[in-house]
């Protein structure tokens, strides 16, 4: 049994080592690949707060990923076309500044999570799963029908947005930015998990009746968790759109929602680095297995099936002997 701390440090070190090695051997594509893994990890860390700690099986979390992506897309589009964004009678200029875009992505995602959460948390169990899935579809179809921003074809952003003091077009610099954000998000997640809020939320997942009879409100705890979760995934969406310099309705797709959950489960539900391990493995599989066969999803399905039936704690569970959180 390997201590979880050690696993975490190894993964952390690996995430730093691989891009540095890529610079040495001059393989910029590898850096892009790792950046992709880091961004998906941020999205999954967000989801893990709702899923792993709160026990909310949100099968529509791509909603927030897409909102973040479109926040970036819309703002950058208006900036690059020198048009103004008319919203509620206000005429806003676009922007290509990452910090502002991130702020907008976070705020709008949090707001959406608040509303969706209020509606969805009136139910529980299977209903909740179905409803979150349905909201995902709603945004997907809405994005397709919204032709102003590309509709089904999506929106291309020609130049990557800017961050003060950096040249974000250089792969390693953009990677560094994303990696720093991942570290911040992981740190906040760790603090949250051990804080009174995390304790109460964790209890709300396992034994909501007890939480009620000590005078706390499980529904409110879960709603706040859902909002935080949505905000983080929204941030990841904005980063993802910047990575690809492209936003499209597929960022809202049910496939992506499913993949986010798959990431976490493969890594280890409720474990701090579960999403990170899962994201790295997923991107690695996508790249290498995908090169071997175009039907690599079959193998992903088989791996997932095996994990669900036989190794419920995911990779971290296998390495450390700890079970995943029971959701």
């Amino acid at each position: 049994m390997i201590p979880e701390r050690l696993v975490n440090w190894v993964v952390f070190a690996g995430l730093l080592a691989v891009p540095l090695w890529a610079i040495v051997v001059d393989e910029p594509f590898t850096i892009t690949l790792v950046t992709r893994a880091v961004i998906l990890a941020i999205a999954a860390v967000g989801l893990n707060i709702a899923l792993g700690i709160g026990g909310l099986v949100s099968l529509g979390h791509a909603v927030f990923f897409g909102i973040g992506g479109y926040a970036m897309g819309i703002l950058a589009y208006h900036a690059q076309t020198y048009t103004s964004l008319d919203l509620f009678g206000l005429s806003l200029a676009g922007t290509k500044s990452m910090p502002i875009i991130w702020l907008v992505a976070i705020v709008v995602s949090a707001l959406a999570a608040w509303i969706i959460g209020l509606l969805s948390l009136r139910t529980s169990g299977v209903y909740f799963i179905m409803i979150t899935l349905a909201f995902g579809q709603m945004f997907y179809y809405f994005a397709i029908s919204w032709s102003t921003y590309g509709g089904e074809d999506g929106l291309s952003i020609y130049v990557r947005n800017g961050f003060p003091g950096l040249n974000t077009l250089v792969p390693i610099q953009f990677f560094g930015l994303c990696f720093a954000l991942l570290c911040i998000v992981l740190f906040l997640n760790a603090r949250l998990q051990n804080a009174p809020f995390g304790l109460a939320l964790n209890a709300a997942r396992q034994v909501p009746t007890r939480v009620e009879t000590v005078g706390l409100n499980p529904m409110r705890l879960k709603l706040v968790a859902f909002v935080i979760s949505g905000a983080i995934t929204g941030l990841a969406g904005a980063l993802f759109a910047d990575l690809n310099r492209f936003v499209s309705p597929t960022m809202f797709s049910w496939q992506l929602s499913g993949e986010l959950i798959v990431l976490i489960v493969i890594g280890g539900v409720g474990r701090l680095y579960g999403p990170v391990v899962g994201a790295c493995l997923f991107v690695a599989l996508e790249h290498w297995l995908g090169a071997l066969t175009e039907f690599w999803h079959i193998y992903l399905g088989l791996i997932l099936l095996a994990i669900v039936l036989f190794a419920r704690g995911g990779i971290i569970g296998l390495l450390t002997g700890k079970e995943g959180a029971h959701v």
């Binding site: 579809q137 499913g258 079959i298 997932l304």
Partner: protein, 306 residues
Amino acid sequence: MSTLLIIEQVLNGLQFGVMLFLMAAGLTLIFGVMGLINLAHGSLYMIGAFAAAAVAGATGSFVLALAAALAVAAIAGALIEMTVIRRLYGKAHLDQVLATFALILIFSEGTRWLFGSFPLFLDIPDYLSGPVTLPGGIQYPLYRLTLIAVGLLVGLGLWALIERTRIGIQIRAGENDREMIAALGVDIRLLYTLVFAIGAALAGLAGALVGAIQSVQVGMGEPVLILAFVVIVIGGIGSIKGAFIGALLVGLTDTLGGIFLPELFKLFMEPGAATQTGSALASMAIYILMSLVLIWRPTGLFGARA
């Protein structure tokens, strides 16, 4: 806005709804009896469509194609149940979601591997094609009318099965108390496999029937699956009646919303913006309906009250 158009759209809505009902009925039955949420239902829809297309292509017979759809989907369902699904009963919903999501991946890619990425075509047979003149002078495609009829017949058949046969009693009892019927000597394993196979057959039939008016391709099942979930949320999990009413509501809302909402907006907006806003809202109409039902009745119209 002619009455003709409205009636035609109402019929379209009914046809859409009735096909959704086939999906939703299977899903809600499986959940009601086995407590299992099944994401792979969309794959069974797809399998039915592909089986029908393959058999129709080989034999030229639509009837054989439908029979194949039913059979292949039912067998596929039974096989999945015995190998994978059986291990999921009683497990957490997350596990069921993940395992059935894994099945989607396997089936979708597997079908793509077998049949390629291009859509297959399933033709409406000659004896069902062409318009039919309804009372009032309305012309409506015969095939779509047939779908409505088939859907209603299936609804009737399901009702008869559940209310009037011994298996139906077992199903109803199973929905209420699983341990009890096992204690009463009912072979639970067989019952569960049967229920799953029935649900699968319904999905496969829907896939085949709809495959003739849309195309048969990988990934066709999941959007319908998610709509079926919306139907169940509106109707109430475990209720076939809820699935029926919910399906009709969803079908009509989607079809009529697409027509009426842009018109509604044209009353106080200029045509261009009205069509844009109207269509965008129409694409969300079903989900708005779902949200409204949830605010009013969190467990659906006919679901068990909390």
